[in-house]
C-alpha cells in the first residue's frame, strides 16, 4: 500500500488544465444536471436528496434541542413553574419524538444516501425517484408533527405513546393523532430509504467490487437498511390500528372489548429496540470508516466486523421485552429476554476491540473527526455497560422509569450516534463543500459538548438511583434531587452551547473555510475520487474496484476516472447510466438506466400530505378523494419506466457492453419489489402476531361460536385468486422463453379474473357477520380482510396497467422485466390470502375460543 497520509494529495491534477475531463463533465452534466429555481423541487439526484435529508434533520435537531433546554430549565430547581404539567408533557414527548423520528434516523439515512453511491462506485441510488419521494414524505410528515407545537396540541403521551394514555378516552384531543399520522408518514420515508439503500448496495456496486471488498460503511448500511425494512412495519401497523381505534372505535387496545393495551407495547418495542441499533449501526459504520484512515492502516478484523454487524442486527430483534419487564410477564420469558439483551453486547464488544486494535497497531492522528470518535468510544462504552446492567431483571425493576434509564438512553444514543455523526460530518465536509472546517472552533465545540454531556447525564444516573422518576414536571425540595438536577441543567446548557458552536462551525466553513486539497485526509475509499464538491453524476467513468483500498493502491485513480479511462463514459445516448452488478461477486450483469428529474415524487408526497391532514381534521370523504389522487399519481409515475422514452431515450448500447436492465429478467425493480414485500410481510406478520397475542392474553377476547364468513365462499374466492396468479406466472414464463409475443390479451384476461375475485372478496367483507366496533376479534378480522382487498385490488390494477404497457410497446419479449416484478406481488397476495384464511378462519374453528 502507498502511504495513505499522502496518497492522492500530489497526484490529482487540476482538472481545469485538462480539456478532456471538462468536455466529459459538460456532456454528463447535460444528462445529469440539476435544474435551478422552483424546478429544483423535481431533483432526484442522491447527493441533493441526501443533503436535503441532513439539513432538514439538523433543523429538527435544533428544535429538539430547544425542547430539551426547556425541560432542563424546568427541572433545574425544585418547585419551578416555568412550565405547567400539560406543557411539560407535550415538550418531553416532542423532544423524544423529534430526536428519534425526525433527526436520528433521517439524518443517518441522508448521510447514507449521499455517500453510498460514491463509496461503491455508482452514479446514483438505484431508485432516485423513490429517494425524492421519501424526502418529501419526511419533510411533510415532520412539519405536520412539529406544527402541533405551534397549535398547542402536541402529542403528550410520551414518545412511545403507550395506550390507554394515548387512546381516545384518556387522550381525546388531536394530540395523539398528530403523532400517529405524522410519524407514520415519516416512516414511509424511512422504509423507502431502507429499500433503496439495500438494493443499491447489492446491485449497483462498480465492476469487480465483491461483497468482501465492499467498504465497511456499506456493510453497516446494508444491515441497518434490512433492519429498517423489517423493524419499522410493526410500528406502522400499531399506529394505523391505534388511529383506527381513535377514529372509528375499533377496540384493538380496549381491554373491555377483547383488546389489550399491552399489545401496543409489544408492537412498539418490536420496532423500538431494533431502532436503537438502526441508529447505532450507521454511526458505527462511520467509526469503522474513519479509524483506518486516521490510523494509516486497514481495519483489524474486517471479516469479524461484518460478522458482528450481522449478528447485532438479528439479535437486536430478540430484545424488545426488556423494555417491558415490569408489565407482568412470566419470569421464564423475562429470563429469555434478559439473556438475549446481555448477548447483544458481545458483537458490539467485538467491534470495539477491533477499533481498539486498529488504534493500537496504527499511527493515530488526533484530527478533529478523531476527537469526536474518541469521545464516542468513552461515552458509548459507558452507555453499553449500563445497558448490560439494565438487562438484569431485578436491577431493571429497581430503576424502571427513573432518571437512570434516561441517562443510559442518552449515553447510548448521543454517544453511539451524535458523536460519530459529528465525526462523519467533519470528515466528509470537505467532500461536500470543497472547504475545510475550523480546527479551533471545532475543538472548542467538541470539548463543550463532551463536558456538557457528561455533566448532564453522568450525574443523572445518580439522580435516578436516588429514585427520581422520569416525566415528572416538578419535584419538592429536600428529596436529595436538588443538587444533581441543578448540575444536570447547567451541564445541559453547556452542551447546548457546544452544539451551537459545532453547528456554527459547520455553517461558517462554507464561507470562511480554506480550500480543501483533493483527498484531504488521505482516505482509501472511492468517494474521494469524485470532484469536490461532487458533480451530480459522481464519476465520469466507472472504475474496476477489486480491492478494499482503491485510492491507497492506485492514487492515480481520480485522474483516470476524470479523464474517462474507465467504463460508461459515453453520453450520446442521453441516458443516466450506472452498472448493475452481481450481488456477491460484483461482476457486471447489465446497465441500469436511471430515471431523470421528475415531479411525480413531489406530487405523490403532496397528495399523501393532504390525506394525512384530512384524516387529522377527520374530513374522511376528502381523505378518500385525496387517497385516490395519490394512487393515480403513483400509477402515472410508474408509467415512466423501462422502455418508456423518458426512462430510456435510446435502447442501443456500446459493442461489448451488457444489455440495458429492462431488456433482462433481473432488473433492480425485481429486487426492489422483493425487499418491499419483505417490509409488507413484516407488517402482515405483526398483524398475525396481534391476532394470536389477543387470543392468548386478552381476558375479554371472544371468538364467536360461528365463523363470521363462509369457509366455502372464502375457498372459492381464494381459488380465483390463485388461478389469476398462476395465469400471470404462465405469461411470465412464456415471455422468458420467448415463446409468446401476444401477451396483451392474456394479461387483460388475468386482470378480469382478478377483478371478479376482488368483487367477490369485497362482497364477502361487506356481508361478513362482523361488528368491529364491539369486539377486538371482529376489529382484527376486518382489518385483515381490508388488507387482502387492498392487495387484490393492486394486483388487478397493476396487471391491467401491464396490458396497457404491452399495447404501448413498453413491455414485451424485448422488455420483459416488469412482468416478473408484478408476478411477485401476485404470489405475495396469494400467500397472505391463504395464511389469513388459515389463521383467522380454520384455526379458531379447530381450536375454539381461548
Amino acid at each position: 500500500l502507498s502511504d495513505p497520509r499522502t496518497s492522492g494529495q500530489d497526484h490529482v491534477p487540476d482538472e481545469r488544465s485538462l480539456g478532456e475531463p471538462d468536455r466529459l463533465h459538460d456532456e454528463l452534466n447535460v444528462i445529469w444536471g440539476n435544474p435551478g429555481g422552483w424546478r429544483a423541487l423535481s431533483i432526484v439526484n442522491h447527493s441533493t436528496i441526501g443533503l436535503r435529508f441532513m439539513v432538514t434533520g439538523l433543523a429538527f435537531f435544533v428544535i429538539g434541542g430547544m425542547l430539551a433546554m426547556l425541560i432542563r430549565a424546568q427541572l433545574a430547581l425544585p418547585g419551578r413553574d416555568l412550565l405547567d404539567h400539560e406543557a411539560y408533557n407535550q415538550i418531553f414527548t416532542m423532544h423524544g419524538t423529534v430526536m428519534m423520528f425526525l433527526f436520528a434516523v433521517p439524518v443517518l439515512e441522508g448521510l447514507a444516501m449521499y455517500l453510498i453511491p460514491k463509496l461503491i462506485g455508482a452514479r446514483d441510488l438505484v431508485f432516485p425517484r423513490l429517494s425524492a419521494f421519501g424526502y418529501w414524505c419526511y419533510l411533510f410528515g415532520g412539519l405536520i408533527v412539529v406544527s402541533s407545537l405551534l397549535l398547542g396540541a402536541a402529542p403528550n403521551s410520551g414518545w412511545f405513546m403507550y395506550t390507554p394514555l394515548s387512546s381516545g378516552i384518556y387522550g381525546p384531543g388531536p394530540n395523539s393523532d398528530f403523532w400517529l399520522l405524522g410519524i407514520t408518514f415519516v416512516e414511509i420515508s424511512a422504509v423507502s430509504a431502507g429499500v433503496e439503500l439495500v438494493v443499491s448496495i447489492l446491485r449497483t456496486r462498480t465492476s469487480g467490487m465483491a461483497l468482501h471488498q465492499m467498504p465497511l460503511f456499506a456493510w453497516y448500511i446494508l444491515v441497518a437498511g434490512l433492519m429498517i425494512v423489517v423493524g419499522f412495519p410493526p410500528l406502522i401497523l400499531a399506529s394505523v390500528l391505534l388511529e383506527i381505534e381513535r377514529a372509528l372505535g375499533f377496540p384493538f387496545f380496549d381491554v373491555t372489548l377483547g383488546g389489550d393495551p399491552i399489545l401496543w407495547q409489544h408492537l412498539f418495542w418490536l420496532f423500538g429496540h431494533p431502532e436503537v441499533y438502526i441508529i447505532f449501526l450507521p454511526a458505527a459504520g462511520i467509526v469503522s470508516t474513519l479509524l483506518p484512515v486516521f490510523c494509516g492502516r486497514p481495519i483489524v478484523g474486517y471479516r469479524w466486523l461484518v460478522l458482528s454487524v450481522i449478528t447485532t442486527g438479528f439479535i437486536s430483534f430478540g430484545l424488545w421485552v426488556h423494555h417491558m419487564f415490569t408489565v407482568g410477564i412470566p419470569h421464564l420469558a423475562q429470563a429469555f429476554f434478559s439473556a438475549a439483551s446481555m448477548l447483544v453486547a458481545i458483537p458490539t464488544g467485538i467491534q470495539i476491540f477491533a477499533w481498539l486494535a486498529t488504534l493500537w497497531l496504527g499511527r493515530p492522528r488526533l484530527t478533529l473527526p478523531m476527537l469526536w470518535i474518541a469521545g464516542f468510544l468513552v461515552i458509548f462504552v459507558a452507555g453499553g455497560l449500563t445497558g448490560v446492567m439494565l438487562a438484569l431483571v431485578p436491577f431493571n425493576w429497581q430503576v424502571h422509569d427513573t432518571h437512570f434509564v434516561v441517562a443510559h438512553m442518552h449515553y447510548v444514543l448521543v454517544g453511539g450516534m451524535l458523536f460519530p455523526l459529528m465525526a462523519g460530518l467533519y470528515y466528509w465536509l470537505p467532500l461536500a463543500s470543497g472547504r475545510m472546517p475550523s480546527e479551533r472552533l471545532g475543538r472548542l465545540g467538541f470539548w463543550l459538548v463532551f463536558i456538557g454531556f457528561n455533566a448532564t447525564f453522568l450525574i443523572m444516573h445518580w439522580t435516578g438511583l436516588l429514585g427520581m422518576p422520569r416525566r415528572i414536571y416538578t419535584f419538592d425540595a429536600g428529596l436529595g434531587w436538588d443538587l444533581p438536577n441543578l448540575v444536570s441543567s447547567v451541564g445541559g446548557f453547556v452542551l447546548a452551547i457546544g452544539t451551537a458552536v459545532a453547528l456554527a462551525d459547520l455553517l461558517l466553513h462554507f464561507l470562511l473555510g480554506r480550500r480543501a486539497p483533493p483527498n484531504p485526509w488521505g482516505a482509501d475509499t472511492l468517494e474521494w475520487a469524485v470532484r469536490m464538491p461532487p458533480s451530480p453524476y459522481n464519476f465520469v467513468s466507472l472504475p474496476e474496484c477489486p480491492t478494499r483500498h482503491p485510492l491507497w493502491e492506485n492514487p492515480e485513480l481520480p485522474r483516470e476516472i476524470a479523464e474517462g479511462r474507465h467504463a460508461l463514459s459515453t453520453t450520446n445516448h442521453g441516458r443516466r447510466e450506472t452498472w448493475g452488478s452481481d450481488p456477491t461477486t460484483g461482476r457486471v450483469r447489465e446497465i441500469i438506466h436511471l430515471p431523470g428529474n421528475s415531479w411525480w415524487p413531489f406530487y405523490a408526497a403532496l397528495a399523501l400530505a393532504v390525506v394525512c391532514i384530512a384524516l387529522l381534521v377527520r374530513a374522511y370523504p376528502f381523505a378518500s378523494l385525496a387517497t385516490l389522487v395519490a394512487l393515480g399519481v403513483l400509477l402515472r409515475w410508474s408509467w415512466e419506466n423501462g422502455a418508456h422514452p423518458r426512462a430510456a431515450p435510446d435502447a442501443e448500447v456500446q459493442p461489448g457492453d451488457p444489455p440495458l436492465h429492462y431488456r433482462t429478467f433481473d432488473g433492480p425493480g425485481l429486487w426492489g419489489m422483493g425487499i418491499t414485500l419483505l417490509a409488507n410481510g413484516a407488517l402482515y406478520l405483526a398483524l398475525l402476531f396481534g391476532w394470536f397475542y389477543l387470543w392468548t392474553v386478552a381476558p375479554q377476547w371472544q371468538i364467536p361460536d360461528q365463523a363470521p364468513l363462509s369457509l366455502l365462499a372464502m375457498l372459492v374466492v381464494g381459488v380465483l385468486l390463485s388461478l389469476a396468479a398462476f395465469g400471470f406466472q404462465r405469461v411470465v414464463r412464456a415471455v422468458a422463453h420467448q415463446r409468446e409475443d401476444r401477451i396483451e390479451a392474456p394479461l387483460w384476461g388475468i386482470s378480469a379474473i382478478g377483478f371478479v375475485h376482488l368483487g367477490a372478496l369485497v362482497r364477502l367483507t361487506m356481508t361478513a357477520d362482523l361488528t368491529p366496533t364491539e369486539s377486538a376479534h371482529d376489529a382484527v378480522f376486518t382489518v385483515a380482510l381490508i388488507y387482502l382487498v387492498i392487495h387484490s385490488a393492486l394486483a388487478t390494477v397493476l396487471t391491467a396497467l401491464q396490458a396497457l404497457r404491452v399495447r404501448a410497446g413498453y413491455v414485451g419479449r424485448l422488455a420483459p422485466y416488469e412482468l416478473s416484478v408484478v408476478a411477485q406481488w401476485w404470489w405475495y397476495t396469494v400467500m397472505v390470502f391463504w395464511m389469513t384464511a388459515l389463521a383467522l378462519l380454520v384455526f379458531p374453528m379447530s381450536w375454539g375460543p381461548a
Binding site: 468482501h212 421464564l332 392474553v697
Partner: protein
C-alpha cells in the same frame, strides 16, 4: 435472480430459522401457559419446559451441523502450500461468505443455550 446469489442464502436462512426458534420459545411459552398451564408445584419439571428444551436442543444441533461445511470451506485455504487465509480471503468472495455463513450459524447455535438455559430452572407460567 441468479443462482450465484446462493452465497447469501444460507446466511438469510440461518437468521430466519433462529428468529422462528425465538418466536417459538416465547410464543410457545405464552400459548402453553394459556392453553394448559403446568402446575407451579412441578417447578421446571413439566411438559412445557421439556418441549421448549427439546426443540432448542434439536435446532442447536441443526445449527452446529450446518456450520461445519462452510467452516471447512472457509478454512481450507490454510492448508500448507496455499495462500494464507487473509490474502486469499481478499481474492475470493465465496470463501469470505463461507466464513460469514459459518460464523452466523455458530452464533445462532451458541446463543441458544444461553437464552434458553432458564428452562432448566424456572417454572414457565409464574
Amino acid at each position: 435472480m441468479s443462482p450465484r446469489t446462493s452465497g447469501l442464502t444460507p446466511i438469510g436462512a440461518a437468521i430466519f430459522i433462529w428468529s422462528t426458534w425465538f418466536v417459538f420459545l416465547y410464543g410457545g411459552l405464552s400459548v402453553g401457559c394459556a392453553v394448559a398451564p403446568p402446575s407451579t408445584d412441578a417447578g421446571a419439571s413439566n411438559w412445557l419446559n421439556a418441549l421448549l428444551a427439546v426443540i432448542t436442543v434439536v435446532v442447536f444441533f441443526g445449527f452446529v451441523a450446518a456450520a461445519i461445511p462452510p467452516w471447512r470451506r472457509a478454512t481450507r485455504a490454510r492448508a500448507p502450500g496455499s495462500a494464507s487465509a487473509p490474502e486469499s480471503d481478499t481474492r475470493d468472495p465465496w470463501r469470505f461468505l463461507d466464513f460469514v455463513a459459518a460464523g452466523i450459524h455458530g452464533v445462532c447455535a451458541a446463543s441458544m443455550p444461553v437464552i434458553a438455559l432458564s428452562v432448566l430452572r424456572l417454572p414457565p407460567c409464574v
